[in-house]
């Protein structure tokens, strides 16, 4: 470590303003602070600081995402071999998925970080860590068969127009990863929906294979099927709530396993990075909406139970990793209950009532991102009116 430190100290002058590699100053600083925690000491204000910084925060979120990522890789391989009718064993199943998912991950990071580095250098600022999380979220919320160039284009669009134009990490209005997903959805709807994009099927599939996601099946089910309708796996066998919970079902890469997502949720809540108020309220909102629809129950989608709603599609993933993004969600404590509840409610409403598209989480969160400042405005407003009420001079 000492040698590395010495080496860094030796080459550092080259990267200062006016140095040989002055144009890469932010990049150097980024790597230096990646290797060693900055040793600047406080000049003004408090003399001691909590050990946490934004790098640590982002690291914890990435750790929380790992179960979902690893499971997503396994599931990608699993779905592939099921479609081919092969029992490939754990290792090769995982390796297949790893090789399938890795390019998406790499493309997302290279494009996103490339833009971040360039902008940081251009603005002569430190490189900010926000994209470390967005970069891993993006591969997890796209279908496995999304062409890489689309991922690249959508990531670039989101980083530039949803984040950098607003001022960078901490200033964005919309969740960057979800903007990527929304861009893909609206620009290339064909590649984002349908029965074939969620499973990387073998060239020659077994008889009766269908890559339709459970939500897709629910969306397509005729009204007469109420009561007799069953969600099936890719081979047509009915699946139980437990199968949905464990997640060996077709869907976007990281969203299928509610179990893996809950592991991540435990990490986020225990470390205090994510707000239990937001997270819990999203689930509460979803459950309430689903129960209300159950009471009406005139279509198949309306009769889906709350637990199935939570385990299917991107609901749990969105609730745990996307709705809790502190920058784009409500920032007041009361606001978090409202924001979360409405997000969950809206997601289910869109799912059930929108005929064109079976999933609603992405739209719900992006929609609530717009309303988060408004919610905060009214929460803060109540504090203000309390203050004005007790004052004699207004």
């Amino acid at each position: 470590m000492k040698a590395l430190r010495k080496y860094l100290d030796r080459i550092k002058p080259n990267f200062e303003e006016g140095g040989r590699f002055g144009m890469f100053r932010s990049v150097f600083e980024g790597f230096e602070s990646f290797l060693f925690v900055p040793n600047h000491t406080a000049r003004a204000g408090v003399h001691i600081h909590d050990s946490i910084d934004s790098k640590r925060t982002m690291t914890v979120v990435i750790v929380a995402l790992l179960p979902a990522l690893l499971f997503g890789m396994y599931n990608t391989g699993y779905q592939h071999y099921v479609s081919a009718g092969i029992d490939a064993g754990f290792v090769s199943t995982f390796v297949y998925g790893l090789l399938a998912v890795l390019p998406v991950l790499v493309v997302s990071y290279v494009v996103g970080l490339g833009i971040e580095f360039t902008v940081a250098q251009w603005k002569k600022e430190e490189i900010q860590e926000g994209f470390l999380v967005s970069g891993i979220l993006i591969p997890l919320i796209v279908p496995i068969d999304t062409p890489l160039w689309m991922v690249a284009l959508a990531t670039a669009f989101a980083v530039i127009f949803a984040k950098e134009v607003f001022g960078g990490t901490g200033y964005n209005i919309f969740n960057v990863a979800l903007v990527t997903r929304a861009f893909l959805f609206f620009a290339y709807p064909g590649a984002m929906s349908g029965d074939s994009v969620f499973v990387r099927a073998a060239a020659k599939t077994v008889d009766g294979f269908s890559g339709a996601t459970p939500l897709g099946q629910i969306n397509m089910a005729p009204n007469e099927a109420i009561g007799s309708f069953r969600v099936v796996d890719t081979l047509g066998n009915p699946i139980s709530l437990w199968d949905m919970f464990f997640g060996l079902i077709p869907g976007s890469i990281g969203e299928t396993s509610t179990l893996a997502i809950l592991l991540g949720a435990a990490v986020l809540l225990f470390t205090g990075i994510a707000s239990w108020k937001t997270m819990g309220s999203v689930f509460a909102g979803g459950i309430v909406a689903a129960l209300l629809f159950n009471m009406a129950g005139t279509t198949v989608a309306m009769s889906v139970t709350p637990w199935e709603h939570i385990c299917l599609g991107g609901f749990a993933f969105g609730a745990v990793f996307m709705a809790t993004d502190p920058v784009t969600s409500a920032r007041t404590e009361t606001g978090k209950y409202i924001y979360g509840f409405l997000t969950g409610l809206l997601a289910i409403v869109i799912r059930v009532l929108n005929p064109g598209y079976p999933e609603g989480m992405m739209m719900a969160i992006l929609f609530m991102n717009i309303f988060a400042p408004l919610i905060d405005y009214y929460v803060v407003r109540s504090n203000i009116s309390r203050r004005l009420k007790r004052a004699s001079i207004k």
Binding site: P38, G45, T169, R386
Partner: protein, 450 residues
Amino acid sequence: MANVIKIKRGLDIHLRGTAANVILEGKPSETYAVLPASFHGIVPKVVVKPGDKVKAGTTVMTDKNKPEIKLVSPVSGEVTAVNRGDKRKLLSIVIKPDTGTTDYIAFGAKDVKALSSQEVKESLLEAGLWPFIKQRPFDIVASPADTPRDIYLSTFYSAPLAPDFSYIVRGREDDFQTGLDVMNKLTGGKVYVGIRRGAKLPLKGVEVIEVEGPHPAANVSVLINHTKPINKGETIWTVSPDNLITIGALFNKGIADFSRLVAVTGSETTERGYIRTIAGCTIRSLVQGKVMEGVDKVRLISGNVLTGVRVSKDDYLLASDNQITAIPEGDNDHDFLGWALPGLNKFSVSRTFLSWLMGKKKEYVIDARIRGGKRAMIMSNEYDKVFPMDIYPEFLLKAIITFDIDKMENLGIYEVAPEDFALCEFVDTSKIELQEIVRSGLDLLYKEMN
């Protein structure tokens, strides 16, 4: 039945190096200084020149805007220097003390109860003790022309490694009570005194509030916010309990006696306890031989680690401070991949480091590193968790940054002082200098209003 306030939002940072309740022997201070920086809001005008002889209590500077406010010499001796910085800003007036006994100006002992409010004010102004009284809003030296709605003070300290006031006040209870009587004369309202829940302090003529909970339980802003919050147009005065002893002594003994107990604290000290000294002494006289002189640098702080000022041995103790803290500077420490390692010995309020395994009682040595880069406000609810007032700190800070006067007023700028944001600054993931933001906001607002 006393009022009880229970504070839930806050944080006690357990640092190594609390002062033991013993008296230590300090080195004699070769010079003393009167520092305008001790009293925010004063625009100093020097009235002595090098070579002048002064007594303890002789005026050495006055306030340009309110000339009745005076700062006096804490010792008798000879003015040796008037130090100025950039733009001729006055930094300090240095006084070389007489050898032997101190020659005090006799202001005459007075019975506070028999004095009028005006006479009390005049006594305090004349003896140079007025600047010890601060006002809210703006957290500046109080204006003698005002009559405050109420006066608030705390009789304990809750900041990290803070001195034990019950030890400081021992033997000076009379002066303290006289100080409280003085405060009673100055307000038309009440004098509210915060004490630790369960503490037994025989206080007369005041409204006692028992406070329970972590830091900032002792901050007067918290007391005020939980009893009678400040509204627009109202003025509250506050005074620190140490300084109230000095004020009481003026009326009991008839002299401006700036002697006080100063706690020597911090992990880098070799001896910890209290030193009897006089306000304005050199830092060297307090720490010489009591601070580790090793390979690594030590940071000396006049005050506590949250709100204190960084000093060197050649600097002077600020007039209202009662604590010296020595912590490691830490700038030689290169923490390899620190953001990724478990961090068993890294203190954090969040559980992102495994140090939560060590329990809440563990004492930490925390150095002066900021431990991260400055970012925009990313995490929410960080500040609120350590800010026990009915105020939204994040939104108030944003109003200050954009200097939106209406919003600042509406969100409670009149109720806060920079010290209230110290814990927010400590826990901040984005490492923003919040106290500085609040200070400059208050100053700008004051300028705007006057």
